[in-house]
């Protein structure tokens, strides 16, 4: 079994930052990631609120630079799927499809995944008109009519991005106001290709081989109508990727991991950072901050461990 000082699970901004700090402390650091580095940030077209990039930066570019920075300081990046966490005395073992890895410190940064809308037709038409990644799929909808579901930052930002391709973008939101940042709200209201439909939910997605229409329901009047549409992009929040942890780590009612201000979980030597953690704001910058805090505390933990032996 290969041994490390710090194992980071997940190569989004939180995990990569933890790895940058860990590697700079000259700790043997492994980052395990099942897909490409970057996490949800890598599926975000434009990031305008991360300091240092006054003209914005694309999610994939920022993610690639963070990964490069972690590798530059000596962190190793492994493409593997984590399957479990085992606590064995002072050792933590991360089980993966590429073998088991051992370290005194594990930093959980496996993030969150898009939440499903949960309406009939959503899964049937997934990848056939239903998408959770505008950055990946927007180009398929040139000159098309698309719908975006949600009212937060992601929904509004991605709806604006889609207007660069689609003829018309309809933003459907179940409430009568948006949660997104004011600057994005103003852009949405000023964009002639974007229409916002308030107090409305998607009841069903219908079609043949691909999406053809959606049934919308007005939550105030209860009235339903069917609208022809080519694509539906869903941005209704996220769910924590905690399945692999098997219930060892304490979470809140929604499954987000509980930590203290040093990012410690209920298990000694196990930290949680980024979107997987219960926290008030999930952004690239707060993810990065979590990673730094956890890695610095982990360094103290590793030193104490050494002295106690």
């Amino acid at each position: 079994m290969q041994e490390y000082d710090i194992i980071v699970v997940g190569a989004g901004p939180a995990g990569l930052t933890a790895a940058i700090y860990g590697a700079r402390s000259k700790r043997k650091t492994l980052i395990i990631e099942k897909l490409a580095a970057g996490g949800q940030a890598a599926t975000t077209e434009e990031i305008e609120n991360y300091p240092g990039f006054p003209k914005g930066i694309t999610g994939p570019e920022l993610a690639a630079m963070m990964a490069e920075q972690a590798k530059h300081f000596g962190a190793e990046l492994l493409a593997a799927k984590v399957q479990g966490l085992v606590i064995d005395g002072a050792r933590r073992i991360v089980k993966t499809n590429k073998g088991d890895f051992r370290a005194p410190v594990v930093i959980i940064a496996s993030g969150a995944a898009p939440k499903l809308l949960g309406c009939p037709g959503e899964l049937k038409f997934r990848s056939r008109g239903v998408s959770y990644c505008a950055t990946c799929d927007a180009a398929f909808y040139e000159e098309a009519q698309v719908m975006v579901v949600g009212g937060g930052d992601a929904a509004v930002e991605e709806a604006l991005y889609l207007t660069k391709f689609a003829d018309k973008v309809t933003l459907v939101h179940r409430r009568d106001s948006l949660r997104a940042a004011k600057i994005a709200q103003e852009r949405a209201k000023d964009n002639p290709k974007l229409e916002i439909v308030w107090n409305t939910v998607v009841e069903e997605i219908e079609g043949g081989d691909m999406v053809e229409k959606v049934v919308l329901k007005d939550v105030v009047s209860g009235g339903k109508r069917t609208v022809p549409i080519d694509g539906v992009f869903i941005y209704v929040g996220t769910e924590p990727n905690t399945d692999w942890l098997g219930g060892f780590v304490e979470t809140d009612g929604q499954g987000y991991i509980l930590t203290d201000e040093n990012m410690r979980t209920n298990l000694p030597g196990v930290y949680a950072v980024g979107d997987i953690r219960k926290k008030p704001l999930r952004q690239v910058i707060t993810a990065a901050a979590d990673g730094a805090v956890a890695a610095v505390h982990a360094e103290k933990y590793l030193e104490d461990q050494l002295h106690s032996v």
Binding site: L35, A36, A79, C133, T135, C136, A139, F140, G231
Partner: protein, 110 residues
Amino acid sequence: MAGLIEVNKDNFDQEVKEANLPVLVDFWGPKCVPCMGLMPAVEEIAARYAGKMKFCKVNTAENRRLAIQQKVLSLPTFLFYKNGELADQLQGEFGPEEIEAKIKAMLGLN
């Protein structure tokens, strides 16, 4: 180095539909980070199954119509063809393990 064959609308029928071997077609795009992340693993798999399976890729940024004709509207998507017919597919979140499992199923290996 056996790479993937670049396929576009002009040679899709010839390379994919008329191929003698089963064919994997990787629909990707330069802005699709998961697609780019998969690419090295796909190349490695392609090298291992060379001669048994044919490996092609379509850059959807340059071949949007071809992708839509094949009912590909989301990336990454892998389509598997046998005797000119669509035989299987992978869409959404999948990794090298799932790709190899599909290949083995296509080739009748276990």
